[in-house]
């Protein structure tokens, strides 16, 4: 099976290429078969490969397709390195990607640019697979930029509205800021190790750098910069809510399940660097903690269904960063996987609702959908429960509980990180159920036009099941103790040991987490279902209104960047549109012209003046020669 590894990214690329070349000539069914089929076969190969991996338990699979280039020892290859970490990622990418592609055939059925959509989506899947399968950082960077391009193309998919184009460019440019940091990180790594081969770097780093070495910290922070940009973390998070301008399957695939977690992958992949750079690792944790809180509060105030989910994505990735930052590597990846399931599910449900309501995204215009769309309601509820981490039955509970536990009890954990996570969990469950109540309960406000068909509901059901049972492969040791996932990760990522003192009372914190989560649901029920008047009275106070506005605008980051960077840049650029340097040369030309005009005055045509000029010249020359 390992000889077919290259097919996994190659098939989506091929699909994309064929769709670009012949997409306009194919029928819709043809496009759908090509677009979905290529990802489907990739998913199939991935699952077979994954089963083989589980059976054989090799350290990793490696396949070199060709050598990219070789310049004086700098010789990255187009080569794939598959270990447990990559396999989890490619499983999520291909499998969830396949479900979303399938869903898209129905969702985008009416769209003019059906083939362009699938071409971009396939290109995205291919690039994302390159990103996670790359055996060297340059190829990873290739995928990294490739997904950025696809994200740009798909956010701006409905290009006729300039706002979408703006959002697309914003996403591309902001992520590129992170990419620059990452590129510089790569330069340092290359200078130090003479290669960008990931495994070589990981094995040599501890020999070259001592713990806390300046270079290691620098590289760690620079890589973190890249990760922050891609994953929509503070301070580069502002593009992600706007990215919801794209079609909903795009939001589900790119801006929830896969691309935005590339940062998580990068940090987990380069964990050795972060182990060597405690400062950088601490920065990861702190950024995660702060981001999850800020995004959570913003999510509380949004009315656009997709924007709530977008902020929730930022917040959940914050949890993953928190996990990585405290050294709970496997917990972070576990949460990534579970998050991919339930967030994709939520987005797809949201898409079904939006489609049914004629592209209405405002939750205030929704309500009472529980009756008219039962399948969507139940699957959404499951996803929401998983997001809110309702205890015991949902996968989200197990993954998030692990993070919270290690944020407190891990070697790098602290009470502040734990508290941030706990508060975040509470907010998460509040905004999640706010969404549920506003959308599915209450009075119907908009007529349901198209009840979702089979192609839409099947992926929902599959994802819903995964969102429930996905958690059972990793259960806390004091509760059934299943450690399939962390066992899988063990050869790749180091394990983590909890603080002995706290470990005795672990159940206490689990209960606390459960209570917090349920408490959030209750608060949401109180405000949005039982007595909306209570909420209204709070919202009326001027402080609450100001706070609401502040949170609604995403803590004012957009305005800040606009005023600090975008406007001055555009202003300066436009100021200098005529090129100030050119005026030096035109000035030179003007001066020459001025002299020309001046001297041409002397050419009067009067012969005697010319003679006088000669005389004056002769006198001058004679005088000078006499004086010298």
């Amino acid at each position: 099976m390992e000889n077919y590894i290259w097919l996994i990214p190659a098939l989506p690329f091929l699909g994309s290429l064929l769709l670009i070349l012949f997409g306009t000539r194919l029928s819709r069914a043809g496009v759908a078969i090509l677009g979905v089929g290529s990802v489907g076969i990739s998913a199939l190969i991935t699952i077979l490969l994954g089963l083989q991996y589980l059976a054989e338990k090799p350290a990793f699979y490696h396949q070199e397709v060709w050598q990219w280039f070789n310049v004086a020892g700098f010789s990255p290859s187009i080569a794939f390195h598959l270990d447990a970490l990559s396999i989890v990622f490619i499983f999520v990418i291909t499998f969830v990607g396949f479900l979303i592609h399938l869903y898209s055939t129905a969702y985008m059925a009416e769209d003019m640019d059906f083939s362009r959509f699938f071409a971009c989506m396939n290109l995205f899947v291919g690039s994302m697979l390159l990103l996670v399968m790359a055996d060297n950082l340059l190829l990873l960077y290739f995928g990294w930029e490739g997904v950025g391009l696809c994200s740009y193309l798909l956010i701006g998919f409905w290009y006729k509205d300039p706002a979408n184009g703006y959002a697309a460019r914003k996403a591309f440019i902001i992520t590129r800021v992170g990419d620059v940091a990452m590129a510089i990180g790569l330069f340092i790594l290359f200078q130090t190790f003479g290669t960008l081969h990931i495994q070589t770097i990981l094995s040599q780093a501890p020999e070259v750098w001592s713990v806390g070495a300046q270079a290691a910290v620098l590289v760690g922070l620079l890589l973190l910069g890249g990760a922050v940009g891609k994953s929509g973390q503070l301070p580069l998070q502002t593009w992600l809510p706007d990215a919801m301008a794209g079609p909903t399957p795009v939001s589900a695939l790119i801006h929830a399940a896969t691309m935005v977690t590339a940062g998580v992958y990068l940090i987990a992949r380069m964990y050795v660097i972060f182990d060597l750079a405690p400062v950088a690792q601490m920065a990861v944790a702190v950024i995660g903690a702060v981001t999850l809180l800020l995004a959570g509060f913003s999510a509380l105030t949004q009315y656009d269904l997709k924007r709530v989910l977008a902020y929730s994505t930022i917040s959940q990735i914050g949890y993953m960063f928190l996990a990585l930052g405290v050294g709970a590597w496997s917990a972070g990846i576990f949460h990534f996987m579970i998050h991919a399931f339930f967030k994709a599910l939520l987005f797809l449900c949201a898409g079904a609702i939006i489609l049914a309501l004629h592209h209405e995204q405002d939750m205030r215009q929704m309500g009472g959908l529980r009756k008219s769309m039962p399948v969507v309601f139940w699957t959404f509820l499951i996803g929401a429960a998983s997001l809110a981490a309702l205890p015991l039955i949902t996968a989200g509970f197990y993954s998030k509980d692990q993070i919270l536990w290690y944020a407190l009890a891990g070697p790098q954990g602290s009470i502040w990180l734990y508290l941030a996570g706990l508060v975040g969990a509470f907010i998460t469950s509040v905004y999640t159920f706010r969404m549920v109540f506003m959308t599915f309960y209450g009075e119907p406000k908009t007529h349901v036009a198209h009840p979702p068909g089979k192609i839409i509901t099947i992926p929902l059901v599959i994802l819903a099941i995964l969102s429930l049972v996905g958690g059972f492969i990793e259960l806390p040791h004091n509760f059934a103790h299943v450690a399939l996932f962390s066992g899988l990760m063990a050869p790749v990522l180091p394990g983590i040991t909890a603080n002995e003192l706290l470990a005795a009372n672990e159940w206490l914190f689990q209960v606390l987490a459960a209570v917090v989560s349920l408490g959030g649901v209750f608060v949401a029920y109180l405000f949005y279902q039982k007595s909306p008047a209570l909420l209204a009275s709070i919202e009326r106070s001027s402080f609450a209104m100001a706070l609401h506005r502040f949170w609604f605008s995403g803590w004012g980051f957009d305005a800040l960047y606009d005023a600090l960077i975008v406007r001055p840049y555009v202003f300066l650029a436009n100021l200098n549109k005529r090129d100030i340097i050119d005026s030096f040369y035109t000035g030179l030309a003007r001066t020459a012209e001025g002299f020309h005009v001046m001297i041409s005055q002397t050419q009067s045509g009067v012969l005697r003046n010319y003679v006088a000029g000669v005389v004056v010249g002769a006198i001058m020359i004679l005088t000078i020669s006499l004086l010298l």
Binding site: Q603, S604, G605, A612
Partner: protein, 102 residues
């Protein structure tokens, strides 16, 4: 044969040259200007003769012959030009031709 003082001869050349020059500068009549140029050329020739005499070399006189030839050619062409100008402008005023400055 007691020789004439060289300085005096050179001064004579200088004075004649300057007189010619003054005339070129103050006259508007083209024929006068031409005559003045002849005076200046003659003065220059005189200077060459002086020098040749001083060093007892024939070169000074050779140069004078060249100047003479040149003066002859110059006068013939110059006069032809004066004729043209007079025919076209009906005047000998050199300033009248100032529109030819281009």
């Amino acid at each position: 044969m007691s020789g004439a003082p060289m300085e005096a001869a050179l001064l004579l050349a200088g004075v004649l040259f300057i007189l010619g020059l003054i005339s070129v500068l103050i006259r508007r009549n083209i024929i006068f200007m031409l005559i003045s140029v002849e005076i200046m050329l003659n003065a220059a020739g005189l200077a060459f003769i002086v020098a040749g005499s001083r060093w007892v070399q024939p070169d000074g006189q050779v140069m004078f012959i060249f100047i003479l030839t040149m003066a002859a050619a110059e006068v013939s062409v110059g006069l032809a030009l004066i004729l043209q100008i007079y025919h076209q402008l009906k005047t000998l005023d050199s300033d009248a031709a100032s529109f030819m400055k281009g």
